[in-house]
Symmetry: C2
Subunit: 276 residues, 2 copies
């Protein structure tokens, strides 16, 4: 979040004279804008799926006349409680477990990255208490690790000190190589895996990209999650691989955010040199 | 995420000679530790609720003999699809909407803060596309706003430049006042609202604190969310108020993270002065 407030550099701009009040207004307006658009887009769709479900329910009650409304509502309550505890109501006890080791590893990954899909969430008191302390240490560790990895790779790849002494031709080649590497790496890490996931999960490409964005922005709604379709038989390592991909992609984003500005700076510098 | 890689300050420690490899090992070990503990804690609980649900299902099928297994599984499929689209299967069409303006505002707040509970998620293609672009702008705006608010308040409250020229007595009073203010503010923002939410939602105090932690760490599993119990009638402004509380509490945390180190530094300095 915020850095410790600097002891010298900052001018003493008052809260209201400074940037805070305009930012607050922009922020509130942005939230109101979002609320309006989501309301306009989602409300009609919700009404439609709600009406459709009520029809299906009436149809079901009409077909099976031994069942009364009250009994069905009671049973729906049971189903929802099971669902909230992470039990898939369909099928039988041989469904794959949500908490085998691979899934637990996936879950630990979604905690420290603060993605928190929520399809898996601890349901026991001990699990919840452990989750809180696990996150208290794990989130800072994740931030430090990703930052350090991004910066380490950045220093390794960008070789900041000696670069300016290189001949112009080598400088050009290095910048081109770096740009090519970043592009190929981004394809390999940010584009191909979502395509592979879409293929395995039966999502469309746009759904795969939506999943990738919602995951890597750490929003993690949990509406699209890899390895959670109960009708599919996954390879046992699939969820662990997905967790590793998420960590790798987040590290890659950290690298892009730290290398991107350096690369842009060098490009503009070389451009000026070449133009004379 | 990472800062742009510094052009001068960083020593050229190699990736393997530097801090990255030990950090990577620590990170992987931490994930494996978490996976093991969650697996040990949650697996038995899952097995139990799963067995219990299968019993309830058999019981239900036994009570209503006009219903066969296949029809029930089909109906369960319909229920799950409705649930995923955000329709609460219980009750009838008069259930409060998930996408009225207050809820949409709440949703917009969970997008820009990257909490993303996921109880609400856009279900239309247009809604998803808008959500991606909304988050692309909104997440940086949220970070800039929280940082600026934290730093603005910090500068306002901590008065960094003139503080050292004050008489010792005033310095002491100011530090005490600041400490008291932060404590009272934390109580008012981080402790009382969760207690109020727990009261309204019928959660235990530990559940309320768990909800607060999972929310303010921006993990947002969505297992505990305010204003989502379909059996409760909420005041219409309840969800908007909850969204404002979340933003206020995140801003307060940003302030704590920026003022805390300053306060600690001054305390130690005063302690040294007073001790002689
Ligand atoms: K989430
Ligand atoms: K999240």
């Amino acid at each position: 979040m915020a850095q410790a407030c600097p002891q010298s550099a900052m001018p003493r701009a008052g809260l209201c004279g400074g940037r805070v009040l305009p930012l607050l207004l922009a922020y509130i307006c942005y939230l109101l804008l979002g609320a309006t658009v989501f309301w306009l887009l989602e409300k009609p769709a919700e009404t439609e799926s709600r009406d459709q479900f009520q029809l299906e329910k009436l149809h079901f009650l009409g077909n099976y006349t031994c069942l009364d409304r009250w009994a069905l509502e009671q049973f729906l309550q049971v189903i929802l409680e099971a669902w909230v505890k992470g039990v898939n109501p369909q099928g039988n006890s041989t469904n794959p477990s949500n908490w085998d080791f691979g899934s637990s590893f996936f879950f630990a990954g979604t905690v420290v990255t603060t993605i928190g899909y929520g399809n898996l969430a601890p349901s026991t008191k001990a699990g919840r208490a452990f989750c809180v302390f696990y996150a208290l240490v794990g989130i800072p560790l994740n931030v430090v690790f990703l930052n350090s990895l991004g910066r380490g790779l950045c220093t390794q790849l960008a070789t900041p000190e000696k670069w300016k002494e290189w001949p112009l031709r080598s400088q050009l080649l290095q910048v081109l190589g770096l740009g090519l590497g970043l592009t190929l790496g981004s394809l390999a890490i940010l584009v191909f895996p979502p395509m592979a996931f879409s293929h395995v999960e039966g999502w469309s490409l746009s759904e795969g990209l939506y999943f990738t964005f919602i995951t890597l922005s750490t929003i993690g709604f949990g509406d699209y999650v890899v390895g959670r379709d109960p009708s599919k038989l996954y390879v046992s390592e699939y969820r662990s691989l997905a967790a590793l991909w998420i960590l790798l992609a987040l590290a890659w984003l950290a690298l892009l955010f730290s290398l991107g500005p350096v690369l842009l700076h060098r490009c503009s510098r070389l451009w000026l040199l070449v133009r004379g």
